[in-house]
C-alpha cells in the first residue's frame, strides 16, 4: 500500500530539480513509503506528555561575537566548482520556460 503517490514523487522531483524517469517514480514511491513508515514508528512511542522536540541538548542562546574571521580566498572558494567565469560559479540555466 503506497501512501506516497507517483504524483507526489514527481512533484518532489520537480522541486528538487531532478529528472526522474517513469520507472523511477514507482521505485522511489515504494522506497519513500518504507522510509516514512520507519520514521512514523517514533510516533508510536511518543505519548501526549512528551512535547515534540527538535534538539537533543537542552541548550538555548548559543551566540557568536560579531567578529570577522578568515574565510576562503576566491580561488579556494571556486576550486571545487565544475565551471567558473569572472570569479563566479557558473551554473546552467536555472528556470525552464514554463516557470
Amino acid at each position: 500500500m503506497n501512501t506516497i503517490s507517483r504524483d507526489e514523487v514527481a512533484h518532489l522531483a520537480r522541486l528538487a530539480r531532478l529528472a526522474v524517469t517513469e520507472d523511477e517514480l514507482d521505485t522511489f514511491a515504494a522506497q519513500l513509503d518504507v522510509i516514512l513508515a520507519s520514521v512514523a514508528r517514533v510516533g508510536e512511542v511518543a505519548a501526549d506528555d512528551i512535547p515534540p522536540t527538535s534538539h537533543a541538548v537542552p541548550l538555548t542562546n548559543v551566540f557568536r561575537a560579531d567578529e570577522v574571521r578568515p574565510g576562503l580566498t576566491q580561488q579556494q572558494a571556486l576550486s571545487g566548482a565544475p565551471a567558473t567565469e569572472d570569479g563566479r560559479f557558473k551554473v546552467p540555466q536555472i528556470l525552464g520556460g514554463d516557470e
Binding site: L15, Q74, A77, R88
Partner: protein
C-alpha cells in the same frame, strides 16, 4: 504570457469598483560586521566570492553559529515596531533548490518568529496618522547574487547560464511583515511609500542598517489584491519584487491595482504569482510561479539551538531605544518653532540629525539651522554629495558658531574658517590659527587703521561732520579692507563716528 502591454484600468475607476488590500514585506540587511551564521565580512562591493567560507558556501561538515549582535538588532527592531518579543523561538530550514542559496535551504524563521503583533503609526502627507499593524519580524539570511548571461534580454527567461557570487549569501536579514492593510482606498500607493520611508527612518535611527534601497540593504516586496466593493473576502494577491526606491513602491502598487482591476473587469482571474517591477516602464511582469509554503518543507533547524531572549535583557533594550523619528520631529518642530514647510525642508535635506547634533554641541538652533540649511547645503550641492558626507562635523560647526558669538570671528571670517575645515585644514581653531583669521579686537590697532582711512578721505569726514552719517560706510569699508576683513565692522563704525566727532 503577459507582456508590458497589460491593460490598465483608469485609477479613478479602479477605486469606484474595488478596495485595495496591501501586504508589505520589507527585508533589511543588518549592518553587522559579519554574516548571520559565520564570521565572513559583510561589506558591500567586494570582488565576487571573496567574503565566503565553508559555512556560507554550504560545504559539507560546516556548521552555523548565530551572530549575537544580529539577534540583538532583531529584538530592537521588534521593540521599535511595538512588537511582542517572544520568550522562545527557533530557526527553520526553508528548502528550495535554486542556486542563489548554495546549501539548498535558507535558514529562516517560520512559525516561531522572534517578534510578533506590532503596530506602527505612520504620518501621511496631509498629516493624518495611519496605523499599520505588524504581523511579525523574523531573522534569516540573505541569498547570493545571480547574474544571468545570454538569452535575448539577459533576464532570467532565456538565460543560457547564470553566474553566482556568494558574498551576500548569509548576510543577516530581518524580514518585517505587515498584516493585511485595508481601508486605504485611493491612498494605497501613498501608504505603501510612506510606510517604507517611515520604517527606513526608524531603522536608521536604531543604527542597525545603512538602509540603502539603491544598494539593496532595504528591499520591499509589495503584495496587492483587490476586493470588489462590498466583498468581505480578499482577492488573489500578487507579490511584486524588485522595488528599489520609495517612488517605485508607490508606482508598483498603483500599477498592480490598475492591472488587476483590468483583468477582473474583463472576467479574468488574477494569477497568484511573483511579479517583477520594471523601473523604466513602471510596469510589472510575471516571474516564477510561487512555490507554496508546503513546497518549502519547513522544519526546525537541527544545527541551531533555540533563541530564548532574557526578559531583563529585552526590558533593558527597550529602555535604551532612541526616540522614534516621528516623535523627535514633532518635538524639534515645537522646540524650534518651525513651520511644517521648514521642518519638511530640513528632513528632505537630511539635515535634521546634523542640526540637532550641532545644537547638542552648544549652538543656538537658529544658527545651527542657518549653517546647515544655507551655506553648507550649497556646498554639498556644488559637490554633488549628501549633507552628511561633507567633511565637517556638527561639533565643528558648533565651535564656529561659538567663535562668532564670542566675538572672535565675524560672519565673513566664519565662512572662511568653515571653508578651511572643508578643505581638510583641521579643526576650526586650527584654521583660525593657520589662516590668521581672528578678529582684530584690539582698539588701539583699530584706531590707527581708522585714523589712517580718515586721513586718506578728508571729504568723507566733512560729510559725516555735516550730518551725513551714512557716508561713514566708506571709511568702514576701507578699514575692513585694510584689516583683511578681520575687524568687527560694528566696532569700526563706532570708532569712525567717535573720531569724526572729535
Amino acid at each position: 504570457m503577459t507582456t508590458a502591454t497589460d491593460a490598465l484600468m483608469p485609477y479613478d475607476e479602479v477605486l469606484e469598483r474595488f478596495d485595495p488590500v496591501l501586504g508589505l514585506e520589507v527585508h533589511v540587511e543588518l549592518g553587522t560586521a559579519t554574516k548571520m551564521f559565520c564570521g565572513c565580512p559583510t561589506a558591500f562591493g567586494a570582488p565576487p566570492n571573496t567574503q565566503v567560507c565553508p559555512t556560507c558556501l554550504g560545504l559539507p561538515g560546516s556548521l552555523p553559529v548565530v551572530n549575537g549582535v544580529a539577534v540583538e538588532s532583531a529584538v530592537r527592531i521588534g521593540l521599535a515596531l511595538n512588537c511582542t518579543i517572544v520568550d522562545w523561538c527557533r530557526f527553520a530550514r526553508k528548502n528550495y533548490f535554486y542556486p542563489d542559496i548554495p546549501k539548498n535551504f535558507q535558514i529562516s524563521q517560520y512559525d516561531e518568529p522572534i517578534a510578533v503583533d506590532g503596530r506602527f503609526d505612520i504620518e501621511l502627507e496631509d498629516g493624518a496618522t495611519f496605523r499599520v499593524r505588524i504581523e511579525r519580524a523574523h531573522m534569516e539570511e540573505d541569498t547570493g547574487k545571480s547574474l544571468h548571461v545570454g538569452g535575448s534580454t539577459g533576464r532570467i527567461h532565456g538565460a543560457e547560464y547564470s553566474l553566482l557570487d556568494y558574498n551576500r549569501a548569509g548576510v543577516p536579514l530581518i524580514e518585517i511583515v505587515t498584516k493585511p492593510i485595508t481601508g486605504t482606498g485611493a491612498r494605497a500607493p501613498e501608504v505603501a511609500r510612506v510606510y517604507v520611508a517611515a520604517l527606513r527612518d526608524v531603522l536608521r535611527g536604531l543604527g542597525v542598517s545603512d538602509v540603502r534601497m539603491d544598494q539593496g540593504s532595504l528591499r520591499c516586496d509589495a503584495n496587492v489584491s483587490l476586493m470588489p466593493k462590498g466583498a468581505t473576502e480578499f482577492g488573489t494577491r500578487t507579490e511584486t519584487k524588485n522595488v528599489n526606491s520609495l517612488r517605485s513602491v508607490e508606482r508598483a502598487v498603483r500599477h498592480e491595482m490598475q492591472r488587476q482591476a483590468a483583468v477582473l473587469a474583463a472576467g479574468g482571474t488574477v494569477v497568484q504569482e511573483t511579479r517583477h517591477f520594471d523601473e523604466n516602464t513602471g510596469f510589472t511582469r510575471p516571474g516564477r510561479v510561487k512555490e507554496t509554503a508546503e513546497d518549502y518543507r519547513y522544519f526546525p533547524e537541527p544545527d541551531l539551538v533555540p533563541v530564548a531572549p532574557d526578559t531583563e535583557w529585552v526590558i533593558g533594550l527597550r529602555k535604551a531605544l532612541p526616540e522614534p523619528p516621528a516623535e523627535r520631529r514633532r518635538r524639534v518642530q515645537t522646540d524650534w518653532d518651525l513651520s511644517d514647510l521648514e521642518l519638511r525642508d530640513m528632513v528632505n535635506a537630511g539635515a535634521l540629525d546634523l542640526i540637532t547634533a550641532t545644537v547638542d554641541a552648544g549652538a543656538p538652533a537658529a544658527q545651527a539651522r542657518s549653517w546647515w540649511m544655507s551655506y553648507l547645503s550649497q556646498e554639498a550641492n556644488t559637490r554633488g554629495i549628501e549633507l552628511a558626507e561633507l567633511p565637517i562635523t556638527p561639533v565643528e560647526v558648533a565651535r564656529v558658531v561659538a567663535l562668532v558669538a564670542e566675538g572672535g570671528l565675524t560672519n565673513n571670517l566664519a565662512r572662511q574658517v568653515v571653508d578651511g575645515v572643508l578643505a581638510g585644514e583641521g579643526t576650526p581653531d586650527e584654521v583660525v590659527e593657520s589662516r590668521g583669521l581672528a578678529v582684530v579686537s584690539d582698539d588701539s590697532s583699530l584706531v590707527a587703521a581708522v585714523d589712517e582711512a580718515l586721513a586718506a578721505q578728508p571729504d568723507v569726514v566733512e560729510k559725516v561732520r555735516g550730518g551725513k552719517v551714512a557716508a561713514a560706510g566708506a571709511i568702514v569699508g576701507a578699514v575692513m579692507k585694510a584689516t583683511g576683513g578681520k575687524a568687527d565692522a560694528k566696532r569700526v563704525r563706532e570708532l569712525v563716528l567717535e573720531r569724526c566727532a572729535q
